[in-house]
Symmetry: C2
Subunit: 397 residues, 2 copies
């Protein structure tokens, strides 16, 4: 279940947000995280080969500093994507100018952008607001909330998740925006994970990979991969708890924070009526379970059936059959909630009203057993509604 | 352009159709083709691992007879899919009973089914109508038209295409139904290609593969592959023109018939407003051109933008970037109609009104150049409309 709950503030971070006039709406659109001197970092980026300027600049910042990031500068309202060399130069200029004011190296400032594709980044607007942005920074919950609002685009609400470590002596707190690529020319999932544990960059990288595999890499709204997707983990070390001393607790907590943010992102997807938890069981390994989950969750026919709360197992069976995994249809069982609706690849008697009711819930469960092995996977996806089409078909350019 | 035009009747075939009460609507739902004693056959089937009973029985009929098929029995209203061993037995019984009346071997009768998944085939209804079906058979255009109507499910109209050979001494004529898997629990594209040329089964197979690659394998409506898809080519030999003597003309004509049927199928897709001809250019080879075309045509964001006649090149660029083909974004050009709308992966000035007008046409063109080689591909796809979702979300079970 989605649970944002109380927020535990990790020590060693300050937050800020201002209105720089990038969004036409006039809302908060420029935000910053300032981190203490011992901070370590690790990040994961979109696998799309078309990447935005900040993804390229951020990747090289991590490489140059060997994972030592001291500030994050984020703008919403403009993705700085498909903007060529001028986009790269603009992004670098914003980082350099932020670094100058903060007395850092340019590569210690990590950039993100989210918003319209193909429009030049308004570099002057951003730079003229940096002094105000930096002087406003503070460590309070209100500062963090302002940050969480400033990074939004089409999201209906901010996304926060937080878990204490060692009974509150430390914490992991995550802030996210986005719901896949879901709006006309607007892109991007951005996730910032902050902890005050002391960790080396390679330790963070391993923990981040594991947590993302089980969360952000196991969700799908529309199957489109954004050009700007970024997950950044910063560890300030300010709690003086070492990663090695809390490793298991930390890994579980990071998993929990990422899982909650992933759920919040899916639930906030455009036009989403039902969130569907797909449970793939009896796969030979995790990779093929993921392959089956993706085939089902990308099927327009399955997703539209879910929009009608229709327990249409034939479409699910057909999606499994074309997933590329060499399944034996005679071993496939499909369930809706606790009821089996397809047994050994065939129709079986079930309570259609109960199945319809299960699929009518805001969050429902669909299970697929493929009879090949022991690997299982929980994958979060959504239905496809007329609203999604309406929102995304609005003529925008 | 879609062109059904005049129909040239290939010699050596008789057609029939009756109402057997399989469809709730009471329309024609049982149909047959009876072919002369010299007939050769080749077929292509769905690649989905979940296959319907008639696909399995048909495949083995071709193997057993070494490509010598004498009759085709088709029912609409029931897909005989996900029906297990009883489904296989029912299908075989229908073939055996047809063969008995026609004085053939059971394996000389090729079966097809299209309709609801997971419901037992009404074998008795079918068998009790076989005598009437066979006694009604005739070689006229009216008989062929009745056949073309009886195989439909959610199609809005029959699909026919025909090309004469040797100035009308021979012909290739195709009949098709379906528009991908587009309706609640209804499946299937069925295509029957008939010619009176004399050809050996392996010759037919080679010609069929080539023609399908350029037509049925280069279209996509919703990306779902049906469990029943079948393309069957029958050559009666009744014109006494040998395949070898007209090989090039035959291959071109078959390509033309398949291309026209593919276009008719796409244009008749549920909720389709715009048919989009994707032109992928400068790929290294055909395989990667197809991979790029599929990534674009399966993107919900691209398809919904097209529904709004929105020249949203950012979404197309992002789809190319995640296609799996190692493109260099800086080499990508995207055009709408004759206008370039994205140059070297970046925004460029274009006439937005003209681009919107091009995309508002019933059939429009979108071009993508990827700067990797010399292979190109024409791929036919559609927009994704609210109507598609509405039709497919209707609660049906």
């Amino acid at each position: 279940m989605i649970q944002s709950g109380p927020v535990f503030l990790p020590k060693g971070f300050k937050f800020s947000a201002v209105k720089a006039g990038i969004k036409a709406s006039g809302k908060l659109d420029l935000a910053m995280i300032i981190a203490g001197p011992k901070t370590s970092a690790a990040a994961l980026f979109t696998r799309n080969l078309v990447t935005a300027a900040p993804v390229e600049v951020g990747r090289s910042a991590l490489a140059k500093t060997k994972g030592r990031i001291r500030a994050v500068i984020v703008n919403s309202g403009n993705a700085n994507c498909a903007t060529g060399q001028p986009g790269i130069r603009g992004c670098k200029k914003v980082c350099a100018e932020s670094a100058r004011i903060l007395d850092l190296e340019a590569a210690q400032v990590f950039p993100s952008s989210t918003g319209i594709i193909g429009v030049p980044l308004p570099v002057d607007k951003i730079i003229s607001h940096l002094n105000l942005l930096i002087s406003n920074a503070g460590p309070s919950l209100e500062h963090l909330q302002q940050f969480s609002e400033a990074i939004l685009t089409t999201d209906s609400k901010p996304k926060l998740a937080s878990v204490p470590l060692r009974s509150g002596r430390g914490a992991i707190t995550g802030v996210a925006k986005g719901a896949g690529m879901i709006h006309p020319q607007l892109a991007t999932m951005l996730v910032y994970l902050l902890t005050d544990v002391a960790a080396k960059p390679p330790e963070l990288k391993t923990a981040l990979h594991k947590a993302c595999d089980e969360s952000f890499n196991a969700i799908s709204i529309d199957g489109d991969t954004s050009t700007n997707d970024t997950v950044l983990l910063l560890a300030s070390g300010a709690s003086e708890i070492s990663y090695q001393s809390v490793r298991n607790e930390f890994d579980r907590a990071l998993q929990k924070v990422c899982g909650s943010l992933a759920e919040q992102i899916v639930a906030d997807g455009e036009g989403v009526q039902h969130m569907v938890r797909l449970r793939i069981e009896q796969a030979r390994n995790r990779t093929e379970a993921l392959q089956i989950a993706r085939a089902i969750s990308h099927s327009l026919l399955v997703k539209t059936a879910w929009a009608g709360a229709d327990p249409n197992w034939g479409r699910i069976l057909a999606a499994v059959g074309r997933s590329g995994v060499p399944v034996d249809p005679n071993k496939i069982f499909i369930s809706v909630g606790k009821q089996v609706v397809c047994r050994r690849g065939m129709a079986c008697v079930f309570d259609e009203r109960a199945a319809h009711q299960e699929l009518s819930k805001a969050e429902c469960e669909v299970g697929v057993k493929v009879g090949r092995g022991k690997a299982s996977l929980s994958f979060l996806t959504t239905d496809l509604t007329q609203d999604y089409v309406k929102i995304n078909a609005d003529y925008s350019t």
